[in-house]
């Protein structure tokens, strides 16, 4: 991929709030061993059931805490690195998500939390996602998953004292019939799981 360069068209000295500035910029280029990817975890959910995405929000520094957790659904996936045998690749698929636009899926705002108070706010940007920061590991749940929920999600954790941690989870939403077509007990487990989710009661496992 050739880097693109634009001519300098307009340059202004900022005097007030940031305004549009058009300056030369370069696209990222792929280079040898330099990688700009984060580890990719995998998660699967049968369509209609709950999708669960893990995120470690514990700070590596003692006494530090997460102040903001933002979940993004990646707008684009541009493979930086297609060699599936690289150590950073969990499943051998292309890794590397970038894209200037990152659509927030949910946010957990704990910036104002002080010891003993719990004034954090949990935003679900489409009403179906819930974040559980107190679980171990912390978990994003997407209710009633749809095929369009499939994709790579980024969990960004801003800490007070430690550098930001970015982790990515790839969610694959499996169609019900696709799950039923899987061999062995997997299909049966999935079907009973769907029955539990939709009926809210316990069900007998189909054999």
């Amino acid at each position: 991929m050739e880097p693109a360069q634009q001519r300098l068209l307009y340059n202004s000295i900022p005097t007030g709030p940031p305004e549009i500035r058009i300056m030369p910029f370069r696209h990222a280029t792929v280079r040898g061993k330099q990688l700009q990817i984060t580890p990719l975890h995998l998660s699967e959910a049968v369509q209609g059931t709950v999708g669960q995405l893990e995120c470690n929000i514990t700070s590596p520094i003692k006494g530090d805490r997460a102040i903001l957790v933002i979940w993004y659904k990646g707008a684009q996936t541009i493979p930086f690195y297609t060699n599936g045998s690289h150590a950073g690749s969990v499943s051998g698929i292309p890794i590397g998500t970038t894209g200037p636009n990152q659509a927030p899926a949910g946010a957990f705002d704990a910036r104002d939390v002080r010891e003993g108070s719990h004034r954090s706010s949990n935003s679900s940007f489409d009403g179906r996602t819930n974040f559980y920061p107190n679980r171990s590991p912390a978990m994003l749940e997407i209710l009633q998953t749809k095929p369009t929920d499939s994709g790579i999600y980024r969990c960004r954790v801003d800490f007070h004292k430690s550098p930001t941690r970015n982790t990515r989870v790839q969610l694959t939403v499996i169609g019900k019939c696709a799950a039923a077509a899987l061999p062995g007990n997997f299909a049966a487990d999935m079907i009973s799981h769907i029955a539990e989710q939709s009926a809210g009661t316990s069900s007998t496992t189909l054999h």
Partner: protein, 171 residues
């Protein structure tokens, strides 16, 4: 058609190549379009090393990263100045801009910075005698020190460039 006011047009300006020991200023431009800024972060590779959060006091936070020395007095929410660049400073630098609640709209753009070592001296020739007999083979070493990336070296005989294979007759 109504457009929702949202962070857009994030661009970085990174000098493509600088000399070792130089100072470089990287810019991150963005249009908040009426949204409030939460943070501007700079990453080297995957590691965040600079965070500017205007609503915090102090707004600037710097984390250690290899080959990165930030000049605080020349850095703010739209630019970052790096001092004493070393060869280890080369890499991908990303700027991540986030709007504040409720949207948390975020954009990330990346640029490449390469730190070069420019040779301080012209190349030198070694291991050549000043006199040869007709029919002798002439061999010599041409060396350029401290160059990164490696320099291209070209031989000239009587100010005429020698071909790559050296298949030329000289009288």
């Amino acid at each position: 058609m109504w457009m929702i006011a949202a962070l857009r047009d994030v661009q970085v300006s990174v000098p493509p190549a600088v000399r070792r020991g130089d100072t470089a200023t990287l810019h991150c431009y963005y249009d908040m379009d009426g949204e409030s800024l939460y943070s501007v972060k700079w990453y080297k590779g995957r590691r965040e090393f600079y965070r500017y959060t205007p609503k915090e006091s102090p707004p600037m936070k710097i984390f250690p990263a290899q080959g990165v020395q930030v000049k605080r007095t020349a850095s703010n929410e739209s630019q970052l100045t790096l001092l004493g660049l070393s060869l280890a400073s080369s890499g991908k630098y990303s700027c991540e801009v986030s709007a504040d609640a409720p949207s948390f709209h975020t954009m990330i753009v990346t640029g490449d910075l390469e730190v070069c070592e420019i040779p301080k001296h012209v190349p030198s020739i070694h291991a050549m005698r000043s006199r040869y007999r007709v029919g002798d083979i002439v061999r010599g070493n041409c060396t350029s020190h401290n160059s990164r990336p490696p320099a291209n070296l070209t031989w000239y005989i009587n100010e005429a460039q020698v071909g790559a294979t050296g298949d030329q007759g000289w009288e």
